[in-house]
Structure formats: structure tokens, C-alpha cells
């Protein structure tokens, strides 16, 4: 039989003070509630918020699912920076920790945002699996045309939250959607690339970005949306000079 050596908060002596954004539908204004949380040797921000929910306030609303930066549901702003709660070590956050929902997406209640508008920004039928770039020298087994893997983007919304342009207009489609479009161009898998380029080639599309690169800074999954937006611009600019019908359009 195995034994489980617990690292429970009850054994900890150190604490951290959390200031947590609170809002319920019908409230006149949002507020911050303060909670002191005992700090064990291993504690993620998600563990801490779950501790508050379990031991202090069961009405606190959180989004979470996978606990390993794969589902993208637990994005928040902590001390003003976008993070996934599940891979953020509380030991790295200082003594006073402020937790707010991500920005530029409507808040449903407390730390939970309504992701409908986030997904509505994406191009239709954007990809979900891609060719695996790992070990290209490895041969795929019979019956499998090629090794595949999931796209890097986990749809967490951190890039949109961090984007200074998205903060000024909700018409800008934003970094996640543009990065998805660029990935479709990179590996089309039957997608209509001309239509995609038209979709991106709008004032509120690829041209609204001011190259602050905050999206790439915030991305927890190596998507690098800023570089992908620049790559899209490259394709569009190149296309304008080399394609006769685009020259015609430009006139």
C-alpha cells in the first residue's frame, strides 16, 4: 500500500494576503475581498483560490479545468499581469496578491469571464490539430499518415487581456484570432486561404495592431501571436505588390 505524505495548508506557518475581485450580477459595484491564506511548500495560485473557496467563501467563482496549462480556463490578472492560475507559484508573488479577472472580455461574476465574445472573434473552422514538429526523423507507424498534435493555442484569452489596443476598441479582432488565421495559412489543411487573407486584411484586423508585443509576453503556450501578426502583414504586403488583381484593387 502507498502512503500519501500530505503538504496541507494546516501545517504551514507562513501566510499570504489575497485581495480578490468580487462581483455578482445585480451588484451596484465591484469590490475586493481580503483573505489570508496559509502557504505550504507547494502552492499554485489556483490551489490558493481553491483553498479560499473551500475554507472561507464557497460563493467565490473561478474557472478551471485541467490544472496544467492545457485547457486555458484559469486565466486571471495577478498584480496586474496576465497568468494562468494553475502554473503560477504563489511563492513568486510577494506578500500582497491582487487577483482580478482578465480584461477586454465581459465579466460574468467574480473571476469568471464570459468567453462567448472571445470565441466570436475567431475565423470560422480554425484548426485544432497540426502536424507534429517533434522528431521529424521518426517514422510514423503504418496506418497513420503523419504524427499530429494539438495546436499550441489554448484559447485562454491572456493575449487579448494584455493587448493595449484591445483595451481601446472592441472592434479589433485581437491577437489570438489573428494568430489562428496565420496558423491556417501556414498549414491550410484545405482551408480557403484567400478568404482568410481578406478576413485579416481589414482596418480592425491585422492593421490595428501597434506592435506592443504584450500578447507574446502574456502567452503561456508559445504561440507568439505578435510574430504571427507580423508574418500575416508580410504576406499581405507582399501580395499587394506581386498580385495583379490586388494592384487593380489598390487603384
Amino acid at each position: 500500500m502507498q502512503t500519501a505524505t500530505d503538504q496541507r495548508p494546516a501545517e504551514a506557518t507562513e501566510t499570504r494576503r489575497f485581495h480578490v475581485f468580487r462581483y455578482k450580477r445585480g451588484d451596484k459595484a465591484s469590490r475586493f475581498d481580503t483573505f489570508d491564506v496559509p502557504l505550504p511548500s507547494r502552492m499554485t495560485l489556483l490551489d490558493a483560490l481553491k483553498w479560499i473557496q473551500l475554507h472561507r467563501d464557497p460563493s467565490l467563482m473561478l474557472r478551471h479545468s485541467c490544472y496544467h496549462a492545457s485547457c486555458g480556463t484559469c486565466g486571471v490578472r495577478v498584480n496586474g499581469r496576465e497568468v494562468l492560475m494553475c502554473v503560477t507559484d504563489v511563492h513568486d508573488l510577494g506578500l500582497d496578491i491582487t487577483v482580478e479577472p482578465i480584461a477586454n472580455v465581459p465579466v460574468l461574476a467574480d473571476l469568471v469571464v464570459d468567453m462567448e465574445e472571445f470565441y466570436a472573434r475567431f475565423p470560422d473552422e480554425y484548426p485544432y490539430v497540426r502536424s507534429s514538429e517533434f522528431n521529424p526523423e521518426a517514422s510514423a507507424p503504418d496506418g497513420i499518415p503523419a504524427y499530429i498534435r494539438y495546436e499550441d493555442c489554448i484559447e485562454c484569452g491572456l493575449c487579448l487581456s494584455a493587448c493595449p489596443i484591445a483595451a481601446t476598441t472592441d472592434r479589433y479582432v485581437g491577437p489570438a484570432a489573428l494568430a489562428a488565421a496565420q496558423r491556417m495559412l501556414e498549414e491550410p489543411r484545405g482551408a480557403d486561404t484567400a478568404e482568410l487573407l481578406d478576413w485579416a486584411d481589414e482596418p480592425d484586423g491585422v492593421w490595428r495592431c501597434h506592435a506592443a508585443f504584450e500578447c507574446s509576453e502574456a502567452c503561456p503556450s508559445n504561440v507568439n501571436p505578435a510574430a504571427r501578426i507580423m508574418a500575416l502583414r508580410g504576406v499581405l504586403v507582399g501580395g499587394a505588390f506581386v498580385t495583379p488583381d490586388r494592384m487593380e484593387e489598390a487603384r
Binding site: Q2, R42, S65, E125, A140, I148
Partner: protein, 395 residues
């Protein structure tokens, strides 16, 4: 029981995990009115935290063939109804030492008996497919495992149910069951979005809360033999394999590595707890994931840490029956509490695995339709599901 002949019966599902989502989808296709409530985000309990392994069933081919058969059947159905949702790279069972080699023959026999296709590979053939494998391997068997996204695959069931008319309500927590004269007629809830309490009436209430089943069943004064049995999982940076890698031996700790995006996920361990809300992440289990995982892929030892977490399996078994949960079957079961406890209008569905969510729902929906005297075919085997993104789009 008597049900109105003019309006469809109303089924209230408690629990927004994979099982609840698949059941909402199944019952909606059968023409019933469905409401699902979940205290957090959907898939926030056990479902979203599982290993992300689309099981071939080979893991259970020796010793738990009932689960093995369920897995391979559902594996094939899910590939059909969730196109594009899996990393369909297959899996390997890898023998490292002589003891593993003794397991090879019963393993191949068990797979054959369970209907799981196998292909034996020599060490050099296996290394050609997966160059990071332990070079001392003695044999490998290829089976149809795959990688799933523990959240997004189940989300497709919720999405399809929602767009077919089911009401899906995350952030509504059940506080109590409404029970009169041994009949469950609804639930008392707290809506965490508004902070307000209310009641939802239903013809049948389904307890689909996985490791929390005991707590909900207790509200009706009935016992369900569920043991919350957590396991630790370790996510490492770097995609160290393309196929799912399993150790070829009796289920043990840290003997499966599932590649997912740019991560490699090593799992898992097994123990039992009383409270599924308070699992903890035992440090010695995390260490064991590194040690055991490194036997399959030596590079695990020096890989960069990304996350470690625990997920509670809802295993069927009474207290005292098992110490670690390894002894318990991975199969699933529906309890009609009219039959077992004399409580009408209340059903519990539990046990099972992420891979068998659709099959669990079919079994439970059959029981519900039987209770209501409704004849309606299950259509979930052929109905291709909407993409996960449709869950967040208005119905």
C-alpha cells in the same frame, strides 16, 4: 410513476463532468427536456484533470476485461463522432525488464480476447518510431491509444446538447434534494452568478457528480458505494514522444506518458480519500512520477517541470474493499435508487473513465427511459458532435 403525456419529461442532471455532458446530449436526442447544473465551470471536477488518454483498453486487458472491452468500443465511436479532437498517433506498451516480458503473453491474449488490435514490434522498430524511448527496451506492442484534450472533447457533448435545446447551467450549486414521501422531485440550488437561492423541479434527478456522488446521494438519505481515488499527474515541458507510451506490466505508478501539445504528461498514482475537494499533491508521488517515467523515457529525469496536480477517480467499491484504488474496476454503473433504496425519481451514474463517457450516458439514458416508459433509440453512436467552440456560442 406518472408523467404528463403532453410535455416531455424533465430530467435534471447534477454534475457538469463528461458523464453529465454526454447524458445531456443523449437524453436531448431522445426528445426529453434536460437541465444540467454544475457548481463550477463544466469539466472542473475530475473530467478536466484526467490524463488526456484516449484508452485503447489495453491497460485493462489483463484482469479487468469488462473495462477493456468498453474502452476499445468507445475509443472507436469517439474517433467517429469527435473528428479532429484527438492526437491519433496510437500508443506503445513497452517491456523494459524480464518481469515485463513475462507479462507480454497474457497481455497479447487479453487484448485479443477484448477485441483490441495489436502489433508486436522489435526494440529497433519501436526506437525508429520513438527515438527517446529507453534504449534497453526488450519489446513493444502497438495499440490504438490516442491523446484527448480532457476538457475540449467532452465540451463537444455539452455544445451539441445545448444547441439541441438542453439548458446547461454552470455556477449553480445544489444545496439539497427535494424529497417527499420517498420521491425526489427537484433540487434546491444556489446560483453563484447572482448569489440567489432557488428551486428546480424535475421528473427525475440524476446524480452525475463522480467522486462527489456520495455527498449528493446522502441528501436523499441513500448510500452509493463510491470511493474517491485520486492520482497524481506530472506535466513536463517538451514533447518527448508522439505516441502514448505505457509500461508493459500490471497497472502501476507513473507508467504512462501522454504527449499533449508541447507537454509530456506522466501519470499516475492511486490512493483513496474521504473528501474529493481536499486532495493535496503528495511530494513523494511527484517524485515517483519522475522516477517511473524515466524508465520509459530517460529524458523525463531532467525535463523542466510545468505542473503537478491530483484528480479523483470515482471508483465503484465499498469502504474496506480497497486500500489504494488499484484493485477496483474501471467500469461504470447506474443505480436506480427505486430499485436499490426505494427512493423514486433519483438515479446515480458513476464509475467509468473519460474514454467511456458516451457509453455511460447510453446506459443511464436507457434506465431513465425505462423508468418513464418511453421507447426512444439511442442516437449518440452516429451523431457527429459540434466543435467545442460551439459551447460558448449562444444557442
Amino acid at each position: 410513476m406518472t408523467v404528463s403525456t403532453t410535455a416531455p419529461a424533465h430530467i435534471l442532471i447534477v454534475g457538469g463532468g463528461g458523464t453529465g455532458g454526454a447524458l445531456a446530449h443523449d437524453l436531448t436526442l431522445r426528445g426529453l427536456k434536460v437541465t444540467l447544473v454544475e457548481r463550477g465551470e463544466v469539466t472542473s471536477g475530475t473530467t478536466g484533470r484526467h490524463h488526456g488518454l484516449l484508452h485503447s483498453g489495453a491497460r485493462y486487458a489483463v484482469g479487468d476485461q469488462e473495462s477493456a472491452v468498453e474502452c476499445i468500443e468507445e475509443n472507436m465511436i469517439l474517433r467517429h463522432i469527435c473528428p479532429g479532437s484527438f492526437e491519433e498517433n496510437d500508443g506503445l506498451f513497452v517491456a523494459i525488464d524480464d518481469e515485463d516480458m513475462e507479462y507480454l503473453e497474457p497481455f497479447l491474449k487479453g487484448c485479443a480476447e477484448s477485441g483490441i488490435p495489436t502489433q508486436q514490434l522489435s526494440p529497433s522498430e519501436a526506437l525508429a518510431l520513438e527515438p527517446n524511448l529507453n534504449p534497453d527496451l526488450k519489446a513493444a506492442v502497438r495499440i490504438p491509444d490516442g491523446t484527448m484534450d480532457a476538457m475540449r472533447m467532452p465540451l463537444r457533448f455539452f455544445a451539441t446538447a445545448k444547441h439541441n435545446g438542453a439548458s446547461i447551467h454552470p455556477y449553480i450549486e445544489v444545496q439539497d434534494l427535494i424529497v417527499h414521501d420517498r420521491v425526489v422531485s427537484g433540487v434546491v440550488v444556489r446560483d453563484h452568478v447572482t448569489g440567489k437561492e432557488g428551486e428546480i423541479r424535475a421528473d427525475i434527478v440524476v446524480n452525475a457528480t463522480g467522486p462527489w456522488s456520495e455527498r449528493i446521494a446522502g441528501m436523499a438519505g441513500v448510500d452509493v458505494p463510491i470511493r474517491p481515488s485520486p492520482g497524481v499527474l506530472l506535466a513536463l515541458r517538451g514533447r518527448m514522444c508522439n505516441m502514448v507510451l505505457n509500461r508493459l506490466h500490471k497497472s502501476g505508478d507513473g507508467d504512462i506518458i501522454v504527449p499533449q501539445r508541447g507537454l509530456s504528461v506522466v501519470g499516475t498514482s492511486s490512493w483513496t480519500v474521504e473528501d474529493p475537494d481536499d486532495l493535496g499533491v503528495p511530494e513523494d508521488h511527484v517524485e515517483r512520477m519522475y522516477q517511473e517515467g524515466a524508465k520509459l523515457i530517460p529524458a523525463v529525469k531532467r525535463a523542466e517541470f510545468r505542473a503537478a496536480w491530483s484528480a479523483a477517480r470515482p471508483l465503484i467499491g465499498s469502504r474496506g474493499e480497497a486500500d489504494t484504488g488499484r484493485e477496483l474496476s474501471r467500469t461504470f454503473k447506474t443505480f436506480d435508487h427505486k430499485e436499490s433504496d426505494g427512493i423514486e425519481g433519483f438515479v446515480t451514474i458513476t464509475g467509468g473513465k473519460g474514454t467511456t463517457l458516451r457509453g455511460m450516458a447510453e446506459l443511464c439514458a436507457n434506465v431513465i427511459c425505462g423508468k418513464l416508459g418511453i421507447e426512444a433509440e439511442c442516437r449518440t453512436r452516429e451523431t457527429v458532435l459540434l466543435p467545442h467552440t460551439a459551447y460558448y456560442a449562444a444557442a
